[in-house]
């Protein structure tokens, strides 16, 4: 049949109808073969739906439309396939993490606890290490971004842009080795300190801060700067009183996303901050536990009660995911609520 103007079009319900019918058919086939499983059902449903859609559409609408429908279905199926790990991950972390969560988990350390105790020491460590990393990275990163957008140009600017790209690609474990190499050179081998972890995380965080801040500062319109100059305002006052306030919401959002990106880092801390059972809130003295390494070591070296250790590892993973999600959500809310409308 030629795809002329008079040629037919599949009814509106065809997509959903075909998928539903395919699901039923696939279920029947699998039950008949005696090999029913959810995964197989989904795969077979998609395959059957693709074949049915293509043949039906080809007869009614012609080969080009049929191919369009086939590819659309394939893309939607691929998207669904990509979502499965995310849904499974969130579901499993919630399911396995909740049994290990308790008041004790959040308030007690593991010092002298035969049954394992809590993760308060890890929670404190995560906050201290990440906080110090943010204290190092945010001023340096923000000033560098200001340099790039406001003073910009020149060989230093080009070199900085290039090397920030290079820094973005540093593997996290290499950042950890760098911090170890740096401190071991001055304080002797085998050294483990909270601040070493912060230095390692800063190497990972600074490029993120620069990238996001640069993006935000770039969209501050130039006429605002020029209006300020026209009033005789010096450049540094223009930056601190006009440019930064205009970009404020975006900057805060960028910082929070940068913190969310590094708060769950494990590898660099494994080689710099060590493993310890008691609460230590001083980054300049002794080993310091953190949530990600805690989850890893509870999995790697489970205590006497294996399942309880695994529960604690999952609880730590759940806590981390919740922190990351909250940081991301709050960042988005701040951006929506406080961003400056730029026309």
């Amino acid at each position: 049949m030629n795809p002329t103007l008079e040629s037919g079009v599949l009814p509106d319900w065809s997509t959903y109808g075909v998928v539903a019918a395919s699901a039923v058919l696939a279920a029947a086939l699998l039950l008949a073969a005696g090999a029913f499983s959810v995964a197989l059902l989904l795969i077979l449903t998609v395959l059957v739906a693709m074949v049915v859609t293509y043949t039906w559409s080809r007869r009614v609408e012609g080969p080009r439309r049929a191919k369009d429908r086939l590819v659309t279905l394939a893309i939607v199926a691929a998207f669904g396939l990509a979502l499965i790990p995310l849904l499974s991950l969130i579901f499993e972390v919630a399911k396995r993490g909740i049994p290990g969560l308790s008041i004790e988990f959040l308030t007690e350390s593991a010092r002298g606890q035969i049954g394992g105790g809590g993760a308060a020491h890890a929670l404190v460590g995560t906050l201290v290490i990440t906080g110090v990393a943010a204290l190092i990275s945010i001023p340096v990163g923000l000033m560098a971004a200001i340099y790039l957008t406001e003073y910009g140009g020149g060989r230093l600017g080009r070199a900085l842009t290039f090397f920030v790209d290079v820094m973005t690609g540093i593997p996290s474990i290499v950042a950890g080795l760098f911090a170890y190499a740096l401190f071991a050179l001055f304080l002797g081998p085998g050294i483990r300190l909270g601040v070493m972890g912060s230095v390692a995380l800063s190497v990972l965080m600074i490029p993120i801060v620069i990238r996001t801040s640069e993006e935000v500062l770039k969209i501050v319109p130039n006429h605002l700067r020029e209006a300020s100059y026209a009033l005789g305002t010096p450049k540094w006052r223009t930056i601190t009183k006009v440019v930064l306030p205009t970009a404020f919401a975006g900057l805060i959002t960028g910082m929070m996303i940068a913190v969310a990106r590094i708060i769950g880092e494990t590898a660099p801390l494994l080689v710099t901050t060590g493993v310890v059972d008691s609460i230590n809130s001083n980054p300049f003295s002794g080993r310091m536990q953190n949530l990600a390494v805690y989850a890893y070591s509870e999995y790697r070296t489970p205590g006497v009660f294996k399942q309880a250790s695994y529960d604690r590892a999952w609880a730590a993973a759940l806590t981390l995911i919740v922190i990351v999600m909250v940081l991301n959500l709050v960042a988005r809310l701040i951006y929506r609520r406080y961003r400056t409308e730029i026309r």
């Binding site: 369009d68 995310l86 972390v93 340099y147 050179l185 005789g232 590898a267």
Partner: protein, 318 residues
């Protein structure tokens, strides 16, 4: 952007000229601070390379009998580098087609009101800590993959990749590769989505106006336009997969072999996983050796990322 920087600098100079040729002290301090920040970052990066070299030097100069395992440094690192590249390659091969589909779905197929939540979900996938992926891989995906891997061994065992004997724990190269796939998917698809949605509207609408179906429009305008961004996104994902540590450390059961067999119990380790496993218990020259292997990893990811940036830069010029 260059032009904008120029106008502001000019304005600054005019202003300086107007105030008697001198810049205010506040201006000087502030600009010095920002230059200092820029220089600090360059120094930091130079420091990363320098300190790693200093700490790796003893292992590079030591004779092979002093090194762990009594092998030369190259013999020590080569199998690890092989495992690193193998795991990352699996991830990129699986992730790129999927990422292109996800990007096309979000940029051109999904209903408009789904855009924000979908974008958020992909971002979230990128923000989940790698330790969580590792736990998910060993406790959920690994056990679930045992059945399919046995099936692969039975039906496709003649292909060297699926030679078997299939692992009964799921701690295999294939599972590690799958977890890396999930981890780099958001990166690759974010780069692709960005460029897909910048395809000039007139091209797309022109194609549709000439009677192209949506797929023909995508294939003739959007995909050619985004081709180099797909490649550079894939390279960025490769860089990420090469350096990924915790997921591989947790999942892979390693034995130092060099093999393409993806589903057996004996797997090559990766550089990053090997460091994470051995570093906490190592002393002396063993530490220097691990740092030397980290330097190799740094070099591999550096080359990959620079290649990706070069492709992006070339595209921007066009």
């Amino acid at each position: 952007m260059e032009a904008r920087a120029d106008t502001t600098t000019n304005a600054g100079q005019l202003l300086a000229a107007a105030s008697g040729g001198r810049r205010q002290w506040g201006d000087r301090i502030f600009s010095n601070f920002s230059v200092a920040a820029a220089v600090t970052i360059l120094a930091l990066l130079a420091g990363v390379a320098a300190f790693l070299l200093i700490q790796a030097a003893p292992a590079i100069t030591a004779s092979s009998s002093e090194l762990p395992g009594g092998k030369s440094l190259i013999d020590y690192i080569a199998p690890l580098a092989f495992g690193t590249v193998l795991a990352a390659t699996i991830a990129v091969i699986l992730a790129v087609p999927l990422a292109v589909a996800v990007a096309l779905f979000i940029s051109h197929i999904a209903p408009r009101r789904l855009l924000l939540p979908l974008g958020y979900m992909v971002d979230l996938l990128a923000a989940i800590p790698s330790i969580v992926y590792g736990l998910w891989g060993i406790f959920v995906l690994g056990p679930a993959a045992v059945g399919p891997m046995r099936w692969l061994e039975e039906k496709l065992g003649f292909i060297p990749f699926f030679e078997g004997p299939a692992s009964v724990t799921g701690r295999t190269m294939l599972v590690a590769g799958l977890v890396l796939t999930v981890m780099i998917l958001p990166i690759v698809s974010a780069v692709a989505r960005e460029v897909f949605s910048q395809t000039p509207r007139k091209l797309q609408e022109g194609a549709l106006a000439l009677g192209a179906t949506r797929w023909e429009m995508l294939r003739m305008t959007v995909l050619p336009f985004g081709k180099s961004s797909i490649i550079s996104g894939a390279m960025l994902g490769l860089g990420r997969a090469l350096g990924e540590t915790m997921a591989v450390t947790i999942i892979l059961s390693v034995s130092g072999v060099v093999t393409f067999n993806l589903i057996s119990q004996a797997n090559p380790s990766t550089i990053a996983a090997n460091i994470a496993l051995d570093f906490p218990e190592s002393t002396g020259l063993a530490i220097n050796t691990l740092i030397a292997s980290g330097l190799v990893l740094f070099a591999i990811t550096l080359v990959t990322n620079l290649a990706a940036r070069a492709i992006i830069a070339r595209q921007n010029i066009q």
